[in-house]
Symmetry: C2
Subunit: 147 residues, 2 copies
């Protein structure tokens, strides 16, 4: 049997490669976060709050690529853990102002370490220079360059 011999048509296809790479990396990082009792989206939301300060749920969703409707339960969970606070925005009573707590910042640091370690595993086949180039190319693709 020929185990890992993928068709050249697929191996030359960026979208197929991206899918496979994303799948594996997500599995690795996801497993690390699971053993820390967390989830990828937890990390995303805490990172956004830490960097940009208090925000509405809709704004968090736009920044992190998380759907508005999944954000509800997500904020519930993180608030139950004491990692963030949700209160009504006094200036716009439609919004929930979500803010990170001190415990949330500590949690973010823990998760960042776990993610970083898992990342190293997932990218093991690449040298440091290659990882840097990969990140730069993906950034150009996903968020554009300097624009």
């Amino acid at each position: 049997m020929e185990p890992g011999t993928a068709p050249t048509r697929l191996v030359g296809t960026p979208s197929w490669l991206l899918n496979q790479a994303a799948q594996r990396a997500t599995r690795t990082v996801g497993a690390a976060l699971t053993s820390a009792g967390a989830h990828r989206t937890h990390f995303s939301v805490l990172a956004a709050l830490d960097e940009y300060g208090p925000a509405s749920q809709a704004s968090l969703g736009r920044r992190c690529g998380i759907d508005r409707s999944d954000m509800v339960a997500l904020v519930d969970t993180l608030a139950a853990g004491g990692y963030l606070e949700r209160r009504q925005d006094p200036d716009d009573r439609r919004r929930n102002l979500v803010s990170i707590t001190a415990a949330g910042r500590g949690r973010l640091r823990e998760l960042a370490t776990a993610v970083s370690d898992a990342q190293d595993d997932a990218l093991a086949p690449l040298t440091a220079a290659e990882r840097t180039r990969l990140v730069a190319l993906l950034q150009a693709l996903v968020v554009g360059r300097g624009d």
Copy 2:
């Protein structure tokens, strides 16, 4: 509101970038294949059969990164379209020997064109040289280099 400003912790994280990039590329390519009445996995399986000849379902799955249990319905569909044939392997009666048909090769050519066009859309932000470098890095990550 700050629409697309993703947290730097995420934008610096390869697994997050891979996820975002894969999601967008898959949407674009998937839509193109849908309008051709096909699916990403159809393209994968036809490409594998065209390149390596008749194979068992399990072997196809390993090559294309498709689960053994999803392969059943997939081969059903492609066989119903006349793009491949499934018969019992005389040398190992556990296996279904799957072979591509002439119609399957024609279909593969059609789909390859559709995929290639969609790919260009998905990678529009990158120059040709950058696409080449991205593919090389992803290959090293997914299938290893010369090993």
